[in-house]
């Protein structure tokens, strides 16, 4: 019997453990509450009433998760597209396209359906509310069974896919080199041109960005001026991360090439990569095309918009998604 062989060692270990635990109980005794006091502590409080109601501005608790995005309170309530590309991407994804659904019908999937498929509510917010400093993020629901002190941890956008997968969703992402190359087109060339177009083109900043990002923060002109300045500086710093100088013509021509490449990639297909349903990549493209083609935003300098409008199939792709998820 191997146990017999191990016996002496085991005894040794046990005795060591006992002496250790004896020691630690001694230490614990020093900090623990003496029994009579413990008895007293257990008796109080004598009377416990029901909890105090929460203030008026507390959001109504919902049974569905909340997605915090850049939006106006009205648009968020109506579920209209966010005006921030990253937020819009995840808004669309959670609306059911980006993260494909598996065939499982278990409880996990049910949970996931709540977020990926149908039910989530939008909350108009700002970067200060986010755990990572950027929107969007998802706040899952708290279970009714959770204790009073329990808190809910928010899920930042870079963990959304993982969160969805953990909850049983099958994420349709082709992990091919090709996919990554095209994704980087969006994440760099188009994003850089977008940043310049929105924040550093003075006319666009005043007409679009100021209205969307600055006006809702405060009614005070000084605060608005300070936030405007910070936004423009941050955009400039972001662009200077990729290049030593900001070459405007280069930014726009790179974006133009990127749109061309995307247009060729889409070809005559309905969705990117020949998918049957829209996927995360469609949402990523839509995030920019929707905003650039949305006339209600009131772009003043339309160089980037014109570059996109020349690609007919991308315009139609945007139209299809808009109809599918936002009713036109």
């Amino acid at each position: 019997m191997p146990a017999a062989v191990d016996a002496p060692e085991e005894t040794l270990l046990t005795s060591a453990a006992t002496s250790f635990s004896q020691q630690s109980t001694k230490v614990k005794d020093l900090f623990s509450i003496p029994p009579p006091l413990k008895k007293l502590f257990d008796k109080v409080p004598v009377l416990v009433y029901s909890p105090n109601p929460l203030p008026q501005r507390t959001p109504k608790s919902a049974r569905i998760p909340s997605l915090y995005v850049f939006s106006t309170a009205k648009d968020a309530a109506a579920g209209r597209p966010s005006f921030n590309p990253t937020c819009l991407k995840w808004q669309v994804s959670l609306d059911g396209c980006g993260i494909g659904r598996g065939e499982e019908t278990d409880a996990q999937l049910q949970t996931f359906l709540n977020i990926a498929g149908v039910d989530h509510r939008l909350i108009s917010s700002n970067n200060h509310a986010s755990p990572t400093g950027v929107l969007p993020f998802l706040l899952p629901t708290v279970h009714a069974s959770a204790s009073f002190q329990d808190s809910i941890l928010p899920i930042p956008s870079n963990k959304l896919v993982k969160f969805a997968t953990e909850h049983g969703a099958k994420v349709q992402e082709s992990p091919s080199m090709r996919y990554e190359a095209y994704q980087s087109l969006l994440d760099h060339r188009i994003r850089n041109a977008w940043l310049y177009n929105l924040y550093l083109e003075r006319e666009n900043f005043d007409a679009v960005a100021y209205k969307l990002y600055v006006l809702p923060t405060s009614t005070n002109p000084f605060v608005r001026a300070s936030i405007s300045y910070d936004l423009r500086i941050a955009a400039e710093a972001e662009l200077l991360k990729h290049a030593p100088i900001i070459d405007i013509d280069d930014l726009y021509s790179e974006a133009d090439k990127a749109f061309e490449a995307l247009s060729v990639l889409l070809g005559k297909d309905t969705w990117f990569f020949g998918g049957e349903k829209p996927a995360l990549f469609d949402a990523s493209v839509f995030a920019y095309t929707q905003l650039l083609l949305d006339e209600s935003l009131g772009w003043k300098e339309e160089k980037l918009c014109r570059a996109l409008r020349r690609r007919d199939n991308l315009v139609q792709h945007r139209q299809r998604l808009l109809v599918k998820y936002f009713g036109g």
């Binding site: 007293l40 004598v46 009433y49 203030p55 200060h128 755990p131 808190s151 809910i152 936030i227």
Partner: protein, 514 residues
């Protein structure tokens, strides 16, 4: 020869071997003589003044010596009114002394001279043809304090440690103006930079205007966020004849609720971001207690009223906020102990209300935000509860309330051997309070004035629903000259679910206890 020299040797010897005891005695005697002389001189002067107290005099001149950096016009405003040229009747000697004494006292309070301002009386020189018989001349001798004072140090307060550096520039333009620059960094107040310019008005130390700017970042762990502030304001403070103090001020502050903890509640997340408060505040204080930290008799009443955002004030938040703070103490005589027994009973009551208003000239009121709501609980107000441990809670966060009331009752007793003259007391206390958020009495989304009024009424009524949250206990109080320290053992008796009570020991440092 040798014998002849002997006595001399003795003298030298005795000089060399000085007896320290004898020296001490001699010095003491000399000092006593000096004192006696001084006292006699004082007495003589007193008698002289006493016997001449009704002597009609005219103040012909007042000299201030040692005020090289003080502006003439500033001093003129102080001394000119008491010169006899500007009076229609002569002074009696005692009146004249009184007046000049008052002026010297005012000088002292500007905080630009050392406290030892000396006063001399003289007869003006007879060679001056403009003098009259009754003329007397005063001269005051003052020493100016250094113009620049720099200080660095560390503070340990209520669960907070901080280091600070400050620079005080006194008497900038020769009119007792001061500029105070202060920078500090700590565990709770992450960083704070403040500049305050303060000046007396019309040479009156009781009327002051101050302008301040502040930038700070404070960790509010009880509500999982950090609050960054940038503010500017102007305040006018004055004292009334009866000794009460007023302060009226305007503040514009840009607040940022940011740096949220991972588990911050939806309430805090919803209030994250920027808001501007533009408000007018009035503070009134009547403090008639015999000691600020450990009173045994007297009372204190303080009211704070603030209106923010309404009408021309604009900003992002609008409300009317009123706070009342009272404290009182009575000595308790112990039968068989003559005089003051050192035992006293003190009680305090605080209450406050935030009434939402429409911003600017709108009609829809704005519900309050987390940075405007009251917080209650902690070792310096309702003992036996954690910092902000009372009131509404959303998950881990104390989200504050719009209406509160709290009261406390303390019995203070001196320690048996230590006696009543030490600033050490044993205390028995019971305190309690309630902090409530305005309820949604009106229809959802409707923030018209009638619905706000309705919800304020019903929330005030709710204060009386059931017992308040209560804790009781005993402890030791020590009144240090700069702050009051308390170490208490407390037990919560009544509370609301979610409210955070402290069973056992709790330590508090502060200057303003309930």
């Amino acid at each position: 020869m040798a014998s002849a020299l002997d006595p001399e040797d003795d003298v030298f010897e005795s000089l060399r071997k000085r007896n320290p005891k004898q020296d001490e005695e001699r010095a003491k005697a000399a000092e006593e003589r000096l004192h006696a002389q001084y006292a006699k001189a004082q007495q003589r002067l007193g008698e002289l003044i006493g016997s001449n107290s009704t002597l009609p005099v005219t103040i012909s001149s007042i000299h201030l010596i040692g005020a090289a950096r003080t502006r003439r016009s500033f001093l003129d405003r102080l001394f000119e009114p008491i010169l006899s040229v500007n009076k229609d009747r002569p002074y009696t000697l005692s009146e004249a002394l009184q007046e000049v004494g008052n002026a010297a006292d005012k000088l002292r309070r500007f905080d630009i001279y050392h406290d030892d301002i000396a006063m001399f009386i003289d007869k003006p020189s007879k060679t001056d043809p403009s003098t009259s018989v009754s003329d007397i001349a005063f001269s005051l001798s003052a020493r100016e304090k250094s113009r620049i004072l720099m200080k660095t140090g560390t503070d340990l307060g209520n669960a907070e440690g901080s280091a600070y550096g400050s620079l005080l520039w006194r008497n900038i333009f020769g009119g007792a103006e001061s500029l105070n620059l202060n920078a500090s960094a700590g565990t709770r107040t992450r960083s704070a930079y403040q500049a305050v310019f303060d000046t007396p008005i019309l040479s009156d130390p009781d009327k002051r205007i101050s302008v301040d700017v502040l930038e700070s970042s404070t960790s509010k762990a009880w509500a999982s966020h950090e609050e960054a502030l940038k503010s500017g304001g102007i305040k006018y403070s004055w004292a009334t004849k009866s000794g009460t103090r007023h302060q009226l001020g305007y503040t514009g502050v840009w607040r940022q609720v940011t740096g949220l903890a991972g588990n911050a509640s939806p309430t805090v997340r919803n209030d994250a971001g920027d808001s501007v408060k533009s408000s007018i505040t009035h503070t009134w204080l009547a403090d008639r207690r015999n000691h600020p930290f450990l009173p045994s008799r007297g009372y204190m009443v303080k009211t704070i009223s603030e209106i923010a955002g309404w009408g021309p004030l604009k900003g992002d938040v609008a409300f009317w906020k009123s706070e009342l703070e009272t404290a009182g103490a009575v000595p308790i005589p112990i039968p068989g102990v003559a005089g003051d027994s050192g035992v006293s009973l003190s009680a305090g009551l605080r209450a406050g209300m935030l009434y939402p208003l429409p911003v600017g000239f709108g009609s829809q009121s704005q519900p309050s935000r987390i940075n405007d709501r009251f917080q209650l609980g902690g070792p310096t107000d309702v003992r036996g509860f954690a910092m902000s441990g009372l009131g509404p809670r959303d998950g881990p966060d104390a989200v504050g309330g719009d209406i509160f009331a709290a009261g406390s009752c303390n019995l203070l007793m001196p320690f048996p051997r230590v006696g009543k003259d030490t600033p050490l007391r044993f205390q028995l206390f019971a305190n309690g309070g309630r902090l409530l958020a305005l309820n949604n009495a009106g229809e959802k989304g409707n923030q018209g004035s009638s619905s706000v009024q309705q919800s304020v009424y019903s929330t005030v009524a709710e204060l009386g629903n059931g017992l308040p949250s209560i804790a009781a206990g005993c402890g030791v109080v020590y009144a240090h000259p700069v702050a009051r320290f308390e170490l208490n053992f407390s037990l919560p008796l009544v509370l609301r679910k979610g409210e955070e009570a402290r069973k056992g020991l709790q330590f508090g440092v502060g200057i303003n206890f309930l």
